[in-house]
Symmetry: C2
């Protein structure tokens, strides 16, 4: 295996493990809420005037899926929707008090993850950080342009733009 493959493989495993582990902790701490819901709450808190489309773009999911997810969050009383007088089409979301409670717990959890992984990051030198950031930035830009080339809406079904 060449180094390129090796890096990608290791990153793949890393992500699977971290997602599994974080999800496991989350389900134990926030019973009744799954990672998607919490992730959604996090985004709404941190991005003003978020709507179905913005959430879908950010999560690389369909608008359909987000529409159902937000509906459920409204029913659970975690978020509420609002509109602006000048636009009758777009529907925005914000957290309720209860939703904010979930957000806070998740923030704590996030700190716990960092604490848990501190041992790893402490060993990373400034230079190594820069190497990685250099790599991730380049790769992200590259993928953005490749996705753009397709001229496809990331938030809709496959055939929409074929």
């Amino acid at each position: 295996m060449n180094k390129e493959e090796q890096v990608m493989t290791e990153l793949w495993e890393l992500f699977n493990k971290k997602m599994w582990l974080d999800g496991y902790k989350l389900k134990n701490r926030l019973k009744g809420y799954n990672p998607s819901e919490v992730h959604c709450i996090e985004f709404i808190e941190e991005n003003e005037d978020s709507n179905v489309t913005k959430l879908a773009e950010s999560f690389y999911m369909t608008r359909s899926a987000i529409s159902k997810l937000t509906k459920k969050l409204i029913e659970k009383g975690l978020i509420e929707s609002y509109q602006k007088p000048e636009n009758k089409k777009e529907i925005y979301f914000k957290l309720t008090k209860q939703g904010h409670g979930v957000y806070e717990v998740h923030e704590e959890l996030h700190k716990e993850y960092q604490e848990r992984d501190k041992a790893v990051f402490e060993q990373i030198t400034e230079e190594q950080y820069n190497s990685m950031l250099c790599f991730t930035e380049k790769f992200n830009k590259h993928l953005d342009s490749e996705i753009k080339k397709l001229d496809v809406d990331v938030t809709s079904g496959w055939r929409d733009n074929l």
Copy 2:
């Protein structure tokens, strides 16, 4: 945002994009097969005597899901199962000719991905590679030990070991 968060965030985005993009290409090239199926075929080809449990562990999925996936692959004529005379419990899988055809196409696709992303990897110095591999290896080992601490079976439902 500190560097640690920055790295993780960028890696997260990178993976979402790459998975979306590769999945998109795959669905166009191998119509009728989805990423899970192809991923499964790939693993079976590259790991002798793979069974439901090994697949589940590797994919961080439940045995239940893999059981259904392999069943479908058998029905589609892409893989076949076999047993060993000394063990009546474990069921192993291998590819059929048709399955091997799919494997080959996926290999080509994989090379295309590499070709597509070559521009990024060419800019990475040997030293930067080593930095990243150092990081991923440490992190992977760390996560392995954290998962092991829980003493939970990754391939079964959440409550099995609680």
